[in-house]
């Protein structure tokens, strides 16, 4: 396996799904079995990706990069050549993401064969999955911001198409539109950030940008602009990863088919935002990171509180997704880079499992999604139940699950951050959310699977899913166990995932713009300058140390406190859930009654949608109507009004024909009409009047002229 072969394979794996899309979308109407072609494609893609990942992780410690000019301007005045590069970069992150994306995509394809069976646009559905896979792989593989943006938008398109797949439902088409537009808000920010970087560095490529920053070349020579660029690019992640305040689209996106929710709106696309921040992590300043941490923490908290009271099985999962994404973003903000990415991966698997599990339930219940109508499904759907349970344990952060490892790391990171910077509210929110997560997830499990069935009719017809639906559940649940990532069930640090594969990149931000704990110590700095060659040979790019020793120590110190605290929180949450919903020791209704305002606030999602409707959307529409009014009334015819007057006058005097009506309907028209009208009146038809005019004209000319 040479590098060039890996590159070739990665390009093949990128374009195969596109081929699948093109073929299926064009022929799907004629041949009803075309979805099998898409299955073939996705299987091939998966195999190739696994190959690439295997070779990359095993044999190539350095990054594999290939690029070419998409288009360029040569001889640009003042700049020289302006390249718009596109290219592929395969590093460890890419390799891991390739596995995650393709594996889940494959499983979702598989699951959908049964789940979507009988849909009139069955083939169309698979083709959309194909274009989604293509776009997502693009994001994963790219080595530059421009291409990232391009595929960013393309996943937006596929998301739009899939959310609105059942577009006959107004709610579905509304949701798809909302998703696209809300995402665009973030994208504008991202685009602006990209523009700042491109304007200064004339390149979109991550590595080249980082290189220039590390040489001390700041955007517009100001660290504030670097912060701005970081935050603006992060805006893209805010949109795509559904962070507050742009999180509103994700719960609505549940209008799409459930497998789609699993693939796009839980495991992969929404994680792209996190992936983006991971990519630009090296250029984030302390200020930018603080903003990111705060947004992440706030998002995870808001979403968790909303999830507490939702009754739609998918809505609960959606808010839990938002909350978990907030976790990852928060982790990046506090500098726990590797744990953030780790959580991305683990979350992808268990959340996909949860969604597919919910899909299985919904399928069994004939598209019933309200958990108040479920209950006792444990017996009817054993496979679904157990896989769902494992994933729930993982998301709650119970030891021996993958979620425990990643979450624990993140919480330790926040604790360290709080300790080192004094922003204590971030770890506080983090732990609170851990409690809430465990609570609402178990509430969900209990209400769905435990107890007595509340809708006997549907319950009686429920049945376990067939193999193609069950197999993905099992696989994903298995992947939620710690053993895949590390041999030590309580500490991931020594596992291959974190020790070998994912390492925090060396930040390129100038020293005075970093957090104290991220400053390169003098010793290291000296080593960097004196022995660059050696340095490079030993540890290229990823091997470098970002954090100071102070941080490593603090992190080490907070490992166990965080672990115990998080287990305690999770346990507490689960306990409450059982107390309330399983054993009914505390009446849910009573709680609801007592905390009515809070409950309503949570149930109505903090009224954020209502707020946006009332402000932005209503405002925009009102403004646009006003402008249109101005356009048609004032600008178009300073004189539509005047024309009306003219018309009125014309009727009155009976002098004009329709001429005025379809005449110049603007000011000049009115004016010319008016002038013409008065000129016309001079022509009385009486020759003596004419003579009088002439005489007067002569007199006036004499006066005007003043020859004396």
């Amino acid at each position: 396996m040479t590098e060039s072969l890996l590159i070739t394979l990665s390009i093949v794996t990128l374009f195969l799904p596109l081929l699948g899309f093109a073929v299926v979308v064009l022929t799907g109407k004629k041949f009803s079995k075309m979805y099998l072609f898409e299955m073939l494609i996705i299987s091939a893609t998966l195999l190739i990706s696994l190959t690439i990942a295997f070779f990359k992780l095993s044999y190539y410690p350095h990054d594999i990069v290939a690029s070419l000019d998409w288009f360029k301007f040569s001889n640009v005045p003042g700049i020289g050549t302006l390249n718009f590069e596109i290219g592929v970069k395969i590093d460890n992150l890419t390799a891991l993401m390739l596995i995650v994306v393709n594996l889940i995509s494959f499983l979702v394809h598989l699951f959908s064969i049964e789940y979507m069976h009988g849909d009139p646009r069955y083939n169309r559905y698979f083709s959309y999955l194909g274009i989604f896979t293509f776009s997502m792989l693009g994001i994963v593989l790219t080595h530059n911001l421009l291409m990232m943006y391009i595929f960013w938008e393309l996943v937006g398109l596929s998301s739009y198409l899939l959310i609105g797949f059942w577009f006959e439902k107004k709610s579905a088409s509304d949701a798809s539109k909302k998703a696209f537009i809300v995402n665009r808000v973030g994208d504008i920010g991202m685009f602006a950030g990209i523009l700042i970087l491109f304007t200064n560095y004339h390149t979109f490529t991550f590595d080249k940008i980082f290189e220039q920053i590390s040489m001390g070349h700041l955007p517009f020579n100001s660290p504030a602009w670097l912060t701005a660029a970081g935050i603006l690019v992060f805006m893209g992640a805010v949109g795509k990863s559904a962070q507050f305040p742009l999180h509103v689209w994700l719960p609505d996106a549940m209008e799409g088919p459930t497998p789609v929710s699993a693939l796009i709106h839980a495991a992969t696309m929404v994680a792209a935002g996190v992936y983006l921040v991971v990519r630009i992590f090296a250029m984030l300043t302390a200020d930018a990171m603080t903003v990111i941490a705060i947004i992440g923490a706030v998002t995870s908290f808001i979403a968790a509180t909303i999830a507490l009271t939702q009754n739609d099985i998918k809505k609960v999962l959606a808010y839990s997704t938002v909350s978990q994404l907030g976790y990852m973003i928060m982790a990046l903000g506090v500098g726990a880079y590797s744990f953030a990415f780790f959580h991305l991966v683990t979350h992808a698997f268990f959340k996909a499992c949860l969604f597919l599990g919910s899909g299985s339930v919904i399928h069994a219940m004939h598209h019933e999604q309200d958990i108040r109508n479920m209950g006792g499904l444990r017996k009817k759907l054993p496979i679904t139940y157990y896989t769902f349970l494992i994933s729930t344990l993982a998301i709650s952060g119970i030891p021996f699950t993958s979620g425990f490892l990643s979450k624990d790391g993140i919480l330790a990171g926040t604790l360290t951050f709080g300790k080192l910077t004094g922003y204590w509210f971030i770890p506080a929110l983090g732990f609170l959310v851990a409690l809430l997560t465990a609570f609402y997830m178990f509430r969900l499990v209990i209400l769905t699977f435990h107890g007595e069935p509340r809708d006997h009719h549907k319950y009686d017809h429920a049945h376990e899913s067939p193999f193609v639906m069950a197999a993905p559940l099992v696989i994903l649940a298995t992947l939620s166990i710690f053993i895949w990532y590390t041999p030590n069930p309580v500490g991931a640090d020594q596992g291959w995932f974190l020790s070998k594969w994912v390492k925090t990149p060396h930040t390129v931000v100038p020293q005075n713009q970093r957090f104290n704990f991220m400053k390169t110590e003098e010793k290291t700095a000296a080593a960097e300058t004196s022995e660059p060659a050696l340095h490079e040979a030993e540890a290229p790019v990823h091997g470098e140390i970002t954090h100071s020793e102070m941080y490593t120590e603090a992190m080490h110190a907070s490992h166990y406190p965080a672990m115990f605290l998080s287990i305690a929180m999770a346990g507490l949450g689960i306990l409450f859930a059982f107390l309330i919903y399983q054993w009914k020791k505390i009446s849910a209704d009573m709680l609801e009654e007592k905390l009515r305002p809070l409950h309503k606030f949570s149930l109505n999602k903090w009224y954020i949608d209502e707020l946006y409707d009332a402000t932005w959307i209503a405002g925009t529409l009102a403004f646009s109507k006003m402008l249109y009014w101005i356009d048609s009334v004032i600008i178009d015819g300073a004189v539509n009004g005047a024309a009306t007057v003219t018309r009125f006058v014309s009727r009155l005097s009976g002098l004009f024909d329709t001429f005025v009506v379809d005449g110049f309907v603007n000011f000049t028209a009115f004016l010319s009409g008016f002038i013409g009208l008065n000129f016309k009146k001079l022509q009385t038809g009486k020759v003596q009047t004419y003579v009088i005019f002439v005489v007067f004209a002569i007199i006036i000319i004499m006066l005007v002229f003043k020859p004396y």
Partner: protein
């Protein structure tokens, strides 16, 4: 002793001119209007002759006056013919009422 000079002639010319204009504007009868025109022409004639006489400009002015008289006659002939024609059509020669062509 009052010496009759150029100014007197010019004043008479001016008065005739003004009367002519006044006549043209105020008279309703087309023939009267045409007489106003004749007054104007004659005012000019008086000027011509007076200038010619007092200005030592030679006979040019007086010759001009002769031409004008001839032309005035021709004009009157044509104008009266037209008035006659009008009378045939409208049965009157009131210039005020002959105003169908307008605006």
């Amino acid at each position: 002793m009052l010496q009759v000079g150029l100014t007197h002639f010019l004043v008479i010319g001016a008065i005739l001119f003004s009367l002519g204009i006044y006549g043209i504007i105020t008279r309703k009868n087309a023939v009267m209007v045409l007489m106003g025109v004749e007054l104007i022409l004659n005012a000019a004639n008086i000027n011509f002759v007076a200038f010619s006489r007092y200005g030592n400009f030679g006979l040019n002015g007086q010759i001009a006056a002769l031409f004008v008289i001839v032309l005035a006659a021709a004009e009157a002939a044509i104008a009266l013919a037209i008035v006659l024609n009008i009378y045939k059509t409208y049965s009157n020669v009131n210039v005020d009422e002959i105003s169908n062509l307008k605006e």
